[in-house]
Subunit: 335 residues, 2 copies
């Protein structure tokens, strides 16, 4: 069963931290965030440094909720969108814990949960902190145009969230069960437009979600919600069509996208939110809340990453994409 | 025991692939490489694309030696030095296997072995392919200066290898035992010169190696060789001093550096080789050969990564470093 790992002794998500910026504070999920920075720079010297502040704060909040210090952590797994994942490294230095850096663009948080889940389920670690972050301003200037250009955007584009999410995985306690993960493969349908990522990523999401259903012998009806993150409006439609064509068409109301949830009808979000911090903060805040309060009891979260390299695209190549999925369930493996 | 995982049922390295360029072919380890490309571009359209060719070939060689196809692989874990780890992604697309992308600069191959070892030891995977690559020309222009400048280099600098290494981890068969891994933390001594990486990385190597000895209750005398990768001449001296000051001073003859091994006395290598493909190719070729032929029976390999971000350094910050170590031993866990 290549790609899917079912954890019979499921690792537990025992705490989460969700941090946003001012646009996230004005969005429909504001009540589920733990903390906001008042502005994009947060007293840092640069947007890139500010991004590190976001992830560090999310990590610290998750630790605080679990009444732990960073010295209690066996492992920190994180990544972000910056070249050389500087924000993750910054936070790893802050935590001073054993650290594995990863890169999977906006699919990072699910890759981190897959690896962290494995570390806990194997018994090698008791407490693993995972996290991911993105910053609108640092992402825009790295992947698209200098912020000062004020360039026009097409309606297909998405808005990179200025947000971070961190989740604490533990081998015991009260929490949400990480019952299985499905690791995706690279899928490339030939899209080369960094302003149309939803179309690029939808096939990767469909590939991983169908594999998950097949390998875990589940179907869409087994999940209260199936979440992508982040495909936006157009990508969600594509995903629905692709799943339906594979015989896994879900009840459309249950197919949600974290990028659409984060900003709702905010006009400047275009097709919806995106960025490694979008799904991470929505998961650590809103989705964990829904599960903790048993509004839903089982969800499938498929994070989608456009492994976009500006240099690679300039050299005439396309945008390879990937999606990793995690299945979360209410309960407690020691119950 | 935070950071060290001892595998009682040790995953086995059953095959490796080492690929180099023309300078590696002229180096003292040439006999241990499986394949060379005749030039830096390898019929690719760019140095960056060529880098993908190197890793793909190393991966294919490891698979061929094990008489496997990429469809037999449960998981591919890889990374490289390029922004958005494009060469690893390229190879993941070529293999079409479940893929976890990682970033740990030149420490990548040991991070991959740590994660891959966990995946195999946990029973979730039977066969995991890991790999790492670097390319001198693509690294120079991303991290330092355009190649066309022909800029002068100081004697402290190292030469990024144009090389790739891939290793196949399996749960059974004949191979080298991955008996334990030690995951490092970020160490930053305030170096900000990308032409003096050995000095930046030596403290991280010392931190991880001392932790490994302490947590596994071993000492330098328990290992036939202790290898860093890649600190170069000056970094190796610093590492020796740092280990000695912690009471773990090894027999100096047994403290080797993969960057020094790769190029020997080649003058244009300055302090020695470096790059994510240097230690990966030396490990997959030369070191695996020493173990297979029982020239040595137990070695500690501490890969060192300078998590150098050009933007981060331009913004006035320093170079955070990390080292991950793996302990390898001859034998077979099913013997």
């Amino acid at each position: 069963m290549k790609g899917t790992w079912i954890f019979n002794n499921a690792p537990l998500i025992t705490a989460g931290g969700a941090v946003g910026g001012k646009d996230e504070k004005n969005g429909p999920l504001a009540a589920y965030f733990d903390s906001f920075f008042a502005d994009d720079v947060t007293q840092a010297n640069s947007y890139e440094e500010a991004e590190g502040f976001f992830l560090s704060r999310a990590a610290q909040i998750a630790l605080n909720k679990a009444s732990l210090s960073s010295g209690d952590i066996d492992l920190f797994i994180a990544g972000d969108l910056m070249n050389q994942i500087t924000s993750a490294t910054y936070t790893a230095a802050y935590l001073n814990a054993p650290y594995l850096g990863i890169f999977s663009a906006c699919a990072t948080v699910c890759e981190a949960l897959a690896m962290g889940g494995l570390a806990v389920a194997s018994g090698k670690c008791q407490k693993v902190l995972v996290g991911s972050v993105s910053h609108n301003k640092s992402a825009e200037r790295q992947f698209r145009y200098p912020n000062e250009y004020g360039s026009q955007k097409p309606p297909t584009c998405q808005k990179t969230a200025t947000a971070a999410g961190a989740l604490l995985l533990a081998d015991k306690g009260q929490g949400i069960m990480l019952e299985s993960v499905t690791v995706g493969r690279v899928v490339d349908y030939g899209i080369n437009d960094p302003l149309n990522m939803g179309a690029a990523m939808a096939p990767a999401a469909a590939d991983t979600i169908c594999k998950h259903f097949s390998q875990t012998k589940t179907s869409p009806a087994d999940y209260d919600l199936i979440l992508s993150g982040d495909l936006g409006k157009m990508g969600r439609e594509l995903l629905f069509d692709l799943l339906s064509s594979q015989g896994y068409g879900p009840d459309k109301q249950r197919l949600k996208d974290c990028g659409l949830l984060l900003y709702g009808e905010q006009k400047d979000a275009f097709c919806g939110g995106s960025g490694a911090g979008c799904i991470a903060s929505v998961l650590a805040g809103y989705l964990c809340n829904l599960l903790q309060n048993r509004v839903v009891t089982r969800i499938l979260v498929a994070a989608t990453g456009a492994l976009l390299s500006p240099n690679w695209v300039k050299q005439g190549n396309t945008i390879p994409c990937i999606s990793h999925a995690v299945s979360l369930r209410v309960g407690d493996n020691n119950a």
